[in-house]
């Protein structure tokens, strides 16, 4: 198996040559990928905000942002800077502490989930053995923050929005977790690295989307609902609830909600790409292509090329899904709250259970095709 590029190893080795012992070199290395990942997540948010505005404009035959930078790419940065300079308004009736803690609790778990997002064999912060389960558990912290901010605002719209957000998240978390379970069963592991590796070797044909089509649809619908994207954006339905739990928020606290929701969208798209679309794998199996051309897997330039291709592929797949999410926003009308809960509990949950049992049965019947 091609182990790919090992940045951590090379970094520690090069510091060792400067006379620094490996333990201290490891401490130097520790924050580097994390800071890089946070910066990457923030840039990802800016890009997806810009994409959302441009695609929305195109869907409505408008031009969209065009003055700030070429094609308006600097518009999200300008918006962000504007929010930093906005005055800080906390309603006199509100609970000050919970009001601040709410958005913070929404943002931290979403950023923390990037811990397990791999961009290549060794290009992730750490390969935890609980892997994807960490994401599932972290994603259930956010509703607490939403409920907290809805309650702390002491505003009727906010309270109803917060309650809706919590009900929606918990309803769609179970189908989501069951869909992930089927994938974990096929790769016999929860580690995201193992999940992608199990899909490798056959190019586009090996991706889980062919073996888990139902799971893929369940996961995508549930992920949209968890992100409160448009067919399911009831918690902040502006015609009914003004802005839901965000009604009283202004300035930086509002920006935290905004950033949190976009990071969540990018993260969900990345997770879909990892679970179902082969993660960093190229649609054509590059390993066998290189072997066929007679290039050794350990050739340095090949490793660099495959590593950068891996990052590009992961990001491309994720942004393709973001693109679909934006198009869905302008295609589908919002569902009602009873339709939302019916879809989650009476349709997705039974289908997800059947999908899981079907995967288990197929794994027993055809162990080779379903991960032994």
């Amino acid at each position: 198996m091609n182990s790919g590029i090992d940045l951590q190893g090379s970094f520690i080795q090069s510091l060792q040559q400067l006379g620094i012992p490996p333990e201290i070199a490891k401490i130097f290395w520790l924050p580097l990928p994390m800071v890089l990942m946070v910066i990457g997540a923030v840039v990802g948010v800016l890009v997806s905000v810009w994409l959302e505005r441009k695609i929305s404009a195109a869907a409505q035959q408008r031009i969209g942002p065009e003055f700030a930078g070429p094609l308006g790419v600097l518009q999200p940065v300008a918006d962000g800077l504007k929010l930093v300079f906005k005055e800080d308004i906390v309603p006199a009736q509100a609970d000050n502490w919970l009001f601040t803690l709410g958005p913070v609790l929404v943002v931290i778990p979403v950023i923390l989930s990037f811990l397990i997002v791999p961009f290549g064999q060794n290009l992730l912060i750490t390969d935890l053995n609980v892997g994807i389960f960490l994401w599932i558990s972290l994603s259930s912290i956010a509703p607490i923050g939403l409920l907290m901010s809805g309650y702390a605002s002491n505003n009727k719209y906010s309270l109803l929005g917060g309650l809706r957000a919590a009900a929606q998240s918990i309803s769609y978390e179970i189908p989501l977790a069951l869909a992930v379970l089927a994938v974990a069963m096929m790769s016999n592991s929860l580690s995201t690295i193992d999940i992608v590796q199990q899909q490798s070797g056959y190019g586009i044909l090996g991706w889980n989307v062919w073996r888990q089509p139902v799971g893929f649809l369940i996961f995508w619908i549930a992920a949209l609902a968890e992100c409160e994207r448009l067919p399911f954006d009831l918690p902040e339905a502006e015609e009914e609830l003004v802005a839901g739990y965000q009604t009283e928020y202004a300035g930086m606290r509002f920006a935290l909600f905004y950033v949190g929701s976009y990071i969540n969208l990018v993260l969900s798209a990345l997770i879909v790409a990892i679970l179902y679309l082969g993660g960093w794998e190229f649609p054509i199996p590059l390993d066998s292509l290189a072997g066929w051309l007679g290039i050794s897997e350990t050739t340095p330039w090949l490793q660099v090329v495959t590593a950068s291709l891996g990052i590009i592929m992961t990001v491309l797949k994720a942004y393709f899904l973001v693109f679909i999410a934006v198009l869905l926003r302008w295609t589908l009308p919002r569902v009602r709250i009873d339709q939302l809960l019916n879809l989650g509990w009476k349709f997705l949950l039974p289908v997800a259970l059947v999908n899981l049992l079907l995967t288990a049965g197929l794994k027993l019947a055809f162990p080779i095709a379903f991960g032994g």
Binding site: I89, L134, L190
Partner: protein
């Protein structure tokens, strides 16, 4: 045997992730203008004077959903180790999980028939 290697990364990343909102809020605190007047701090209610607070007792219709959620969430947690070790367990584990999920499906049908999954 617990494998806790790798969790130092979790702690480190927790620190970095928590510094993001803290930095953002302090940066805004240093840069923003002071808040004007008490009028701005009134609760928003579509331009009207707010009629009463929101901290009152009323019927939260999502209460039953939360109860059903706990049942199924615990079920999923129990199923995770089963799914990961499934290739070593074989047919017997499949039958056992079938029974386990069957019991919970009965619970789902019961909740459904009792109307716990109706919003109204």
């Amino acid at each position: 045997m617990f494998h806790l290697s790798g969790y130092e990364y979790f702690l480190g990343f927790l620190l970095i992730a928590s510094s993001v909102p803290i930095l953002a809020l302090t940066a805004s605190k240093l840069l923003r203008p002071p808040t004007g007047g008490p009028e701005r701090r009134t609760t928003y209610e579509s331009g009207m004077e707010p009629l009463g607070g929101a901290w009152i007792q009323f019927n939260i219709r999502y209460y039953m959903f939360a109860l059903v959620f706990v049942v199924f969430d615990v079920e999923t947690v129990f199923l995770y180790p089963w799914a990961v070790a499934f290739n070593q367990l074989g047919l017997l584990a499949f039958v056992e999980a079938l029974i386990f999920i069957g019991i919970l499906v009965v619970a789902l049908v019961y909740a459904w028939r009792k109307g716990a999954l109706e919003w109204s």
